[in-house]
């Protein structure tokens, strides 16, 4: 490991499974993260279904920064820094809407939906027509990618394209974005985006959603209540009894997830038994999914994390969450809920109620998590607490490559949890990538897979 700058073998010693509490509570490290992680990572901005028409906009965030996701008058999706080029005032202070221009309320500079600086008060009189307006448009992201309706953006022109960054992890994201019946890109947002602030560092939820199955005990009360769609446990998961439960990590990308792999000829299980109409919809979808070619018909999604701060939950509730950093000790959570766009109204209503019951600031499961992150963070801030690193030793040395179950190969490194129940391989994967970002001078140092490919070609 590279120990020259102190993250590897300093604050992180993954050979021993030790991570310093400083990376969660130290404000200087937090400030460095903004430049080294968030200013050059692919970040989730929103969904195209939020901006269907020209002039539609949704005010989003990238790290600490406010950005505008909009569809310009020509129909092109764009992402801009929400900050006037004159004195930095937000040019858009609404959550969403439709407009022809973004006008700064401070001095009145006005920008088109394509970011062009369109109006400067007293341009002829005060500026004597000498201001070069072509150079003072809204700051636009260096790269943008629309993937199956989701919109991702990056400030760093040197970053690899989004799908290259995603790598083989795309199949797990597809479990949310494709229809439940397996058709491509059938998801739409259900309702608005839930937003709230929790008093902990952003890496707490990122780590938790990377695949912390060890903390299930803290959701025991929800399991007992029976919040699931059939009134049992938290989710309808009877397939678990026959599936292989895995941790899948993509080492050179920093993505990781829990996933379940079903046996080859497994039949759909009864679910959603509290509602015959919903049960019939999902039974039909499951049957259709099995008819479609492709590996995903045998995958059941579970919590995962796309580096650095996007969590996926492909199984119900079907959501993406973004952990926006506010400061070292606060995180603003944005949770987006998804549903099949052509699902019957009754199905959408049923799922909306279930999603709210489960997730979000009032959701029973999310409340358990927030309490853990809140108090773990605050109890790690003191000078004595900081002396003692956290342990991430669980399951070290037990991950394998080329994992296969009944003909279905999994990408990356895999830990079979079917008997083990838990490992901390996903967390080690997350923080290994985090440390690489904190140490790397540029994306040239981070695209290790390209170097490996070149070496293989040279050897051949």
């Amino acid at each position: 490991m590279n120990a020259t700058k102190g993250y590897h073998s300093g604050l992180l010693d993954l050979s021993k499974g030790l991570i310093s509490r400083e990376i969660f509570v130290n404000e200087e490290i937090y400030a460095q993260e903004q430049e080294r992680v968030f200013a050059r990572s692919w970040l989730f901005v929103g969904h195209e279904s939020q901006i269907p028409n020209p002039g539609d906009f949704f005010t989003s965030r990238m790290g600490e920064e406010s950005v505008i996701l909009c569809r310009d008058r020509a129909g092109t999706v764009r992402v801009f820094l929400n900050s006037c080029r004159h004195r930095g005032m937000k040019v858009c202070r609404y959550d969403d809407g439709n407009t022809t221009v973004f006008t700064c309320p401070y001095h009145g500079w006005s920008y088109g939906t394509d970011g062009r600086l369109a109006g400067v008060p007293f341009f002829r009189e005060a500026y004597h027509s000498e201001l070069d307006r072509t150079k003072l448009g809204l700051v636009e992201v260096a790269q943008l990618c629309c993937y199956k309706g989701t919109v991702w953006a990056n400030w760093d022109a040197a970053a690899p394209p989004f799908l290259e960054h995603l790598g083989e992890f795309s199949r797990f994201l597809d479990l949310i974005l494709d229809g439940w019946d397996g058709r491509e890109g059938q998801a739409e947002l259900l309702g608005g985006v839930q937003k709230w602030i929790i008093p902990c560092n952003w890496k707490w939820p990122a780590e938790n959603f990377s695949g912390d199955t060890y903390h299930n005990i803290s959701h025991r009360s929800v399991d007992l209540v029976g919040a699931g769609p059939s009134g049992r446990s938290r989710r309808d998961y009877s397939e678990l009894n026959v599936a292989r439960k895995l941790h899948v990590t993509i080492p050179d990308r920093g993505h990781q997830t829990i996933t379940y792999v079903l046996p080859k000829d497994h039949e759909p299980q009864a679910a959603y038994q509290n509602s015959p109409e919903v049960a019939e919809y999902f039974r039909h979808c499951e049957e259709e999914r099995r008819k479609r070619p492709g590996a995903n018909s045998r995958l059941m999604g579970a919590p995962g994390e796309i580096f650095p701060n996007v969590a996926l939950l492909p199984r119900q509730p079907r959501t993406l969450a973004v952990w926006h950093p506010v400061n070292a000790h606060q995180t603003e959570v944005w949770r987006f809920f998804f549903v099949d766009r052509d699902a019957p109204r009754a199905v959408k209503n049923f799922l909306r109620d279930y999603y709210i019951r489960y997730s979000g600031p009032a959701g029973m499961t999310e409340q358990d998590d927030m309490e853990n992150w809140n108090y773990a963070h605050s109890a790690s801030r003191g000078v004595i607490a900081r002396r003692y690193p956290y342990t991430y030793e669980m399951g070290m040395g037990h991950a394998v490559e080329n994992y296969e179950f009944e003909g279905l190969r999994m990408p990356g490194r895999v830990v079979d949890l079917t008997k083990a129940q838990a490992s901390e391989e996903p967390m080690r994967n997350l923080y290994r990538r985090w440390a690489q970002f904190m140490e790397a001078g540029s994306w040239d140092d981070l695209m290790t897979w390209r170097r490996d490919g070149e070496r293989r070609e040279a050897a051949e």
Partner: protein, 63 residues
Amino acid sequence: MSGIVNVRDLKVGTRVMLGSGAEVEIVSNPGDGVWIFVRYLAADAEAGEDEMIFAQDVVEVRS
């Protein structure tokens, strides 16, 4: 009343007088209270041209 024109609610087709003395017709209004899009009328040198006009340049509503 202050005598200041509130451009926010002016409808498309409304004619206004600018500080320069030109009379223009509103062709689009984003409703931000700061800018309106106008077309210069036949009597002006810029006749037929569309332009963004700053609210402080509007001195009078004509029709």
